[in-house]
Structures are given as C-alpha cells and as structure tokens.
Symmetry: C2
C-alpha cells in the first residue's frame, strides 16, 4: 500500500498541515527555560477553580479555543477533536470536548497522547476524511500527584529518579489546507515492557519503547538520525534519555548528536525537578511553543517528535505488575510551501 | 469529500470486512438469553487469577487471540490493535496489547469503546492504511464495582435504576480482505450532556447522546429507521432505551418498531439486574456473538450498531459534575459478497 512504509510507518503524501498550535502552562513551567514561548502562563495552579482537576480541564479548554482562534476557525469548522489526558476516564479531555461541541475521539496513551492524537489526526486528514482536526492533551502536577502518588498535603519525599509532571496543555490544529508546517510521516508504536516496576522511574520504563519506535521509524523509512535537525522524545527525563541513546546505539543508530527530550528542556536543573519534566502536558506544551516556533522560523527544518507513555495505573502497580511503555513518532517539517 | 456524508458520517466504499468476531463472557452472562452464542463462558469470575483486574485482562487477551485464530491470522499479520476498557488508564487493553505484540492505539470512550474502535478501524482499513485491524474491549462486574462504586464486600444495596456491568470481552477482526459481512458507514458522535448527575442512572445520562448520534446518522445518510433490520444501542438499559426512543420520536424518527439495546438483551429480567446490562463488554459480547451470527445466517441484513458511553469518573461525580454521554454508530451489513 502506498500509504504505508514498512510495518509501522504511514506516509502522508496528500498534505497534512499544522495550521496552528497553542500552549498554556503553569507558573513553574513559565519560569523555566522555555517559559517565554508559551501562549499563556498561569499565575497559580488553581486558576480560580475549586479543584486541581477543574483547573486542568480549563487549561484543556483554553488550549482548544486558542488553537482554533489562531487558525481563525470557528468550532463548527472543526471536524473532529482528538484528545486524552492522564486523569481517570480522561475527564479533562471529555469535559473540554463537551464544551467545545465537535465530534470527539477519546484516546489514552498516557504521556504519548500528543503524538498519538497527531498520528491519528494526520491519518484522517491525509485520507480525506476530515479537513480540520484539533489534537490536544493536558496534565497537571497536582492532579497527577493526587491520583498517581500521594496528595500534596502528605508532603512525601521524592525519589532521586522521580520526574515532575508538567502543568500545561497543548493543542495542534491539523488541516488539509496548505500551511508552512507539515506532517509528512508517522510511526505507530508497539508496547514494550522490559520488566521495570519502579513507578518513580518512568524514564527507564519508557526508554525501551522510545528506542523501539525510533528504530522502527528509521528502518521503515530508510532514513538515518542525521536526516533530522532534532529527534525529540516526550518525557524520558535525564536518565531515560541516556538509556534511549544507549539502546539506539545498540540497534545501530547514533542519535547522540541530535536527540533531546522535552522533559529535559522544559525545566532548569535549578528548579529541583530531579530527572526533569513528565506528563502529557510536557511534550504538548513544548511542541506547541518552542518546536513549532522553531519550524516556523527555520531554526528546525525537520524534526522527529516522539511522545512517550508509561501505561501503568496505581492498581496495576499495587498488584505487582511491571510498567509497559509506548511511543509514537511524528515527522514534522517546516518551510514546505 | 467522497468519504464523508454530512457533518458526522463516513462512508466506506473500498470495502471494510468483518473477518471474525470473538466473545467471552462471565457465568451470569452465560446463563442469560444469549449465553449459548458466546465462544467461551467462564465458570467463575476470577478465572484462576488472583484479582478481578487480572481476570478481566485475561478475557481481553483471550478475545484477541480467539478472533485472530478464527480469521486464521498470526499476530504478525495484524497491523494494529485498537482497544480500551473501563479500568483506570485502560490497563486491561494495554496489558493485553502488550502480550499480543502488535502496534497499538489506546482509546477511551467508556462503554462506547466497541463502536469507537470499529469506527477507527474502519477508517484506517477503508483508506488503505491497514489490511487487518483487531478492535476489542472488555469489562468486568467486580472490577467495575470496586473502581466506580463500592467493593463487593461492602454489600451495598443497588438503586432501582442501576445496571449490571457485563463481565465479558469481545474482539472483531476488520480487514480489507473480502468477507460476508461488511461495515459500510459510521457516524462519529458528539458529547451530549443534559445535566444528569445520578451515577446510578447511566441509561438516562446516555440516552440523549444515542438519540443525537442516531438522528445525525439518519440525517447525514438520508436513510430512515426502516432501512435497518435492527437499530441496536450499547447499554442504555430499559429506562434509557425508552428515553432514547422518545427523544428520537421528537426529532422525527420512529425507531419503536426495530430498536433494541444490548443491555436489555443480554440478561433476563429474572436475573435481578434492575435496568439491564452495561459496560464495554455488554455491546462487545452481544455484537461478537448474537449480532454477527445473525448477519452471517441472514436473520439480519443490515444493522445499526451504536455503543453508548458515559464519560464520568468517580472524581468528576464527587466534584458535583454532571455525566456527559457519547455514542458512535456503525452500519454493518451481511451477505454482501
């Protein structure tokens, strides 16, 4: 099939364009190295709502609205909203999509949601099913801590390999209408589980999935790491990034010169986040600010964007299960018009 | 666009075939009116596992394996597994997909998962992206009670409008390879929320979404209820079904003669399930046994299969939120070869 390369990669030859990206982030993220690039930065993590969950949902809604506005499209011109988040039953995405009032596809790929929604949206736009698709995701440090670990009030100590869930939401508007930035191919990931059981070491749990999907992408497309200005994973953090580079080396791909990780970029080491940022909002905010800006201004010509997800739940961990990881990779190119 | 009819409906003109369907159900479901049709019936709900969650995951795995076996396809011939379930972070689907070892798309549409996975799978097969896609979902009475309501040991009394979560899993193998049963169109749903807040009355919460999607399907395609031998919703239950029929009547569509609901069919009123069955496994097991058998044997020629989902979480309910509903509709036809 013409639309397929190798076993896991889809090629988008009919034109899938990024019309707009929008990002909103928390105060701590705003103080980080990429803070200036976000469209909006919250002054506090409650944002006037009476729960962290409601604040997260409002960020999700805000990202949807801002992306549509930037592309000058009304909600009725959006054919589909694709989104998910980390909260149980993806309530941030579902309630935000309810208020946006477009047809909705809920997804769950943990922190791989940004890449998964872009992959799915690109498949539908390239095939001619949809003209405009809005892809979005969110996470919130405080709602994630409460659900996955401990309520903040408990004041537990974080382990050295812990990462900091990004408070933020990002939305990307994909379209068949010509624009400057396009998505040209995407590789769908397999679930990889190397038996890691430490829920405070997600980077190590996800690194094998990242290496598996990236090497599948290179092998399916015949491309090499040097074909990309930047290969950027979602939220492996400092430790996971090193592991992924090492695993890829063993598979014969040297990405040490041009691979980075959104979780390593969004916070400064002075911000006391241990291994770096994590959460769906991590790659979503970095893509929809820094990376799209870089593609728009020509700093990057071609990037491979690969959000990573750890498919655990507190229940699976309590029942002694290991942590399956997944990663989807999206090739995004600038200056194609 | 040729592949699109109206605002929410996609038409599959290139051929999307149902090569196989597999179903596995719990003991109570096996004793119900459709019990004889399931491929497997468990003797007890633990199935030898040490938690209900592990039993549910094993059912999910079993359904994937059986569907692939029935279609005589090895795992490496499956291009994609699409699935989700009700457990937090869709662990049943993710862990089963890990063991199946194919590329994976996690979805979440609550009990609309069976229709949502078929919709997405049909879009990808029809466009030529994939040859074989395995769509699946599951639910388990005991894992759902524990997560959404109370642990069984608590012995709480069920309210009159409560439904009984089906213990079961279903998997459908979609393919571009010609078969007797085909999916010819599908309508993607919007999230509809009429303000119902009673988490023990899901039928009422989901009925408006069912009415909205079914009427969108009729209006997009120009078809009428009489064009279908059966219009079958997922898990509205007795009350929700009546409400949906009434709401459709108000929209000008009389479905009273040929609409039924999987939740009303899977249990007998003597089985003390109050309003009927619910859960992802409800429409998944009924589709992959009774409905596909009916299409295969000519009892049905054309059905409109519309799984329904309530997009709440215990957290959203505790925070005073109402229950958003969603419904996706799939047109399945028999005897097309």
């Amino acid at each position: 099939m013409a639309m397929r390369q190798g076993k896991q990669t889809f090629v988008f030859e009919n034109g899938v364009y990024v019309l707009a990206g929008a990002s909103i982030a928390g105060k701590k993220e705003g103080q980080g190295p990429l803070g200036m690039g976000f469209d909006m930065v919250l002054e506090d993590d409650h944002w006037g709502e009476d729960s962290y969950e409601k604040a997260e949902r409002r960020m999700f809604s805000q990202a949807l609205d801002m992306a549509a506005q930037k592309a000058k499209l009304a909600a009725e011109n959006i054919d589909l909203v694709i989104g998910g988040d980390l909260l149980n039953q993806i309530i941030s995405a579902s309630f935000a999509a309810r208020d946006f009032s477009a047809p909705f596809f809920g997804i769950y790929g943990a922190c791989s949601n940004m890449a998964q929604s872009l992959l799915l949206g690109s498949l539908l736009v390239n095939a001619g099913y949809c003209t405009n698709v809005l892809c979005a995701t969110s996470s919130h440090f405080s709602s994630a801590e409460r659900q996955y670990r401990f309520p903040l009030e408990f004041g537990n100590q974080r382990t050295p390999t812990a990462q900091w869930t990004v408070t933020g939401a990002g939305a990307t508007l994909l379209s068949s209408v010509r624009g400057n930035i396009s998505i040209t191919s995407a590789t769908v990931g397999k679930i990889i589980d190397m038996g890691i059981k430490d829920a405070n070491n997600m980077g190590a749990a996800m690194a094998p999935a990242a290496a598996d999907t990236l090497s599948a992408h290179f092998s399916d497309t015949g491309k090499t790491p040097a074909d990309y200005d930047l290969i950027i994973t979602g939220d492996l953090g400092l430790l996971g990034k090193e592991l992924a580079i090492e695993l890829l080396q063993k598979k014969g791909y040297d990405v040490s010169a041009n691979m980075n990780d959104c979780g390593c970029m969004i916070f400064d080491q002075q911000q006391d986040v241990h291994m770096g940022g994590s959460g769906c909002g991590c790659s979503a905010t970095v893509l929809n600010s820094h990376l799209l800006n870089g593609l728009r201004t020509g700093i990057y010509k071609k990037i491979l964007f690969a959000s990573t997800g750890a498919l655990l739940s507190p229940t699976s961990s309590l029942q002694g299960e290991s942590i399956p990881g997944i990663c989807h990779a999206i090739c995004i190119e600038g200056g194609k018009v």
